[in-house]
């Protein structure tokens, strides 16, 4: 499908309104979100490329089917991430398993974000310690891994994370603090210096 550049200038919310009038406009929303959501799902679920694509398709089909439920008070991105999050959880339930791995190493910005936020010393050897930090993150509880992913990989603010996970702001702040504490504890165990 050839994309019209005029539509690319429109906001998500405008595209939602236009999609409700013309189904074909939905293609522009898919185009805008397919890579981001694909990566997000890949990090949440340790699945094959085909399985990830199936989940992604399901996310877009559900998004279209529920387009009238979109609350303009939220960011569209928060809403579609929420659908993706729910679809991943639903997939886990279907497979009767819990997610085991979050592929944090796939994003080069992540390490920088987390080092900065956790006050890790600058001289940290990013190449050597990258695997170590990834291992530490993967050893955290799933709820902490997920929230760190939203915060440091997807770079969502508290309000957006609250809207995606459907939890109050206070709970999000608590979860992030606990995730950081658990992460720092593991860092200290591994002798990685903090500022």
């Amino acid at each position: 499908m050839v994309l019209n550049t005029d539509y690319n200038q429109k906001t998500d919310e405008e595209l939602v309104a236009l999609t409700l009038e013309d189904q074909r406009v939905f293609a522009y929303l898919i185009e805008r979100y397919q890579s981001r959501l694909g990566r997000y799902i890949a990090r949440l679920a340790n699945l094959s490329h085909d399985d990830i694509e199936d989940i992604l398709q399901e996310v877009f089909i559900k998004t279209y089917g529920n387009l009238n439920a979109f609350n303009p008070k939220l960011k569209f991105s928060s809403w579609i991430y929420r659908i993706a999050h729910n679809q991943v959880i639903s997939n886990f339930r279907k497979l009767k398993s819990r997610p085991q791995t979050i592929a944090f190493e796939s994003d080069p910005d992540f390490l920088e974000n987390i080092c900065s936020d956790f006050n890790l010393e600058k001289e940290i050897d990013l190449i050597t310690d990258k695997q170590l930090i990834t291992d530490i993150l993967n050893s955290l509880d799933y709820k902490y891994k997920e929230i760190l992913e939203l915060k440091f990989l997807e770079e969502k603010d508290y309000r957006e994370i609250s809207d995606i996970l459907k939890k109050p702001l206070g709970t999000i702040a608590t979860l992030i603090n606990r995730a950081k504490k658990q992460f720092k504890k593991e860092l200290i165990k591994q002798n990685i210096k903090l500022k």
Binding site: M1, L20, Q23, R24, F26, A27, I30, E31, Q34, S35, G38, E53, L56, Q57, F60, I61, Y64, G65, N66, L67, N68, A69, N71, K73, S162, K166, K167, P168, L169, G170, T171
Partner: protein, 241 residues
């Protein structure tokens, strides 16, 4: 993932987004259920206040031995559990509205409880607590055993307590139908004192003589109409059964 756009568009080709009214209806239904939970919770609060205010505090030790035993025996457990259940229900409903997740558990529960307490106090003050209690008592056979500890306490004839409605008055005795619809012939106390009215609901301290006779030592009104807020003044003449 190159062809995902085509795949999704193909999949939704014959679909339409669900109508907006369906989502709104669900949200309104949750709001309505939440508001109803708070409202019914307020009715429960009004009955609980009515029961607590109208309890036999002055006779507590005489009835149960100790003040604390009396409190444990007469707390309106049914209504307290109802208030708790309705608070949980209100929380569940509000939490599941479209933006309910933004509020903390404490905000939603404390909000529901405070509104229920305020409305419950207002409802009690206008006499709704008493009205609900009596209406349930009249219409639900096991209500007295399940949810009205005070009535149960005044049905312990072996312990010298009897209560019910006066249905006939004679010079030395009167007929009384108790809360379990049983007829008693009650011998008046020698000292007299209390002026009985037909139709009035009274509580009596005395002694059981046999299966239909009871000797009264002290007669008191079951409620204290007009003396405390929340009790309707016309209460003594209203038919109870």
């Amino acid at each position: 993932m190159d062809n995902i756009i085509d795949k999704v568009l193909k999949a939704i080709k014959d679909q339409k987004p669900q109508a907006r009214w369906k989502f709104r209806l669900k949200d309104y239904a949750l709001w309505l259920a939440g508001v109803l939970s708070v409202l019914i919770g307020s009715f429960s609060v009004s009955v609980a206040i009515y029961m607590l205010v109208n309890n036999d505090w002055l006779l507590g030790q005489q009835i149960s031995g100790t003040f604390w035993a009396f409190i444990f025996a007469t707390l309106p457990y049914f209504w307290l559990v109802a208030i708790l259940f309705l608070t949980v229900l209100a929380y569940y409903n509000f939490r599941h509205t479209s933006e309910g997740y933004r509020y903390q558990l404490i905000t939603l529960t404390l909000g529901s409880v405070l509104i229920s307490l305020f409305l419950g106090a207002v409802f009690y003050y206008i006499g709704l607590g008493q009205m609900i209690d009596e209406s349930l008592y009249k219409n639900i056979p096991s209500y007295e055993r399940l949810a009205s500890p005070r009535r149960a306490i005044w049905m312990d004839v072996a312990a010298g307590r009897l209560a019910g409605q006066v249905v006939a008055i004679r010079a030395n005795d009167f007929d009384l139908v108790d809360f379990r619809h049983r007829l008693w012939v009650v011998e008046r106390p020698l000292s007299g004192g209390y002026i009985l009215n037909r139709g009035e609901v009274v509580r009596i301290i005395g002694e059981k003589i046999d299966e239909i006779h009871f000797k009264a030592e002290k007669i008191l009104p079951f409620d204290m109409p007009g003396k405390i807020p929340g009790l309707r003044p016309n209460m003594p003449t209203r038919p109870l059964f």
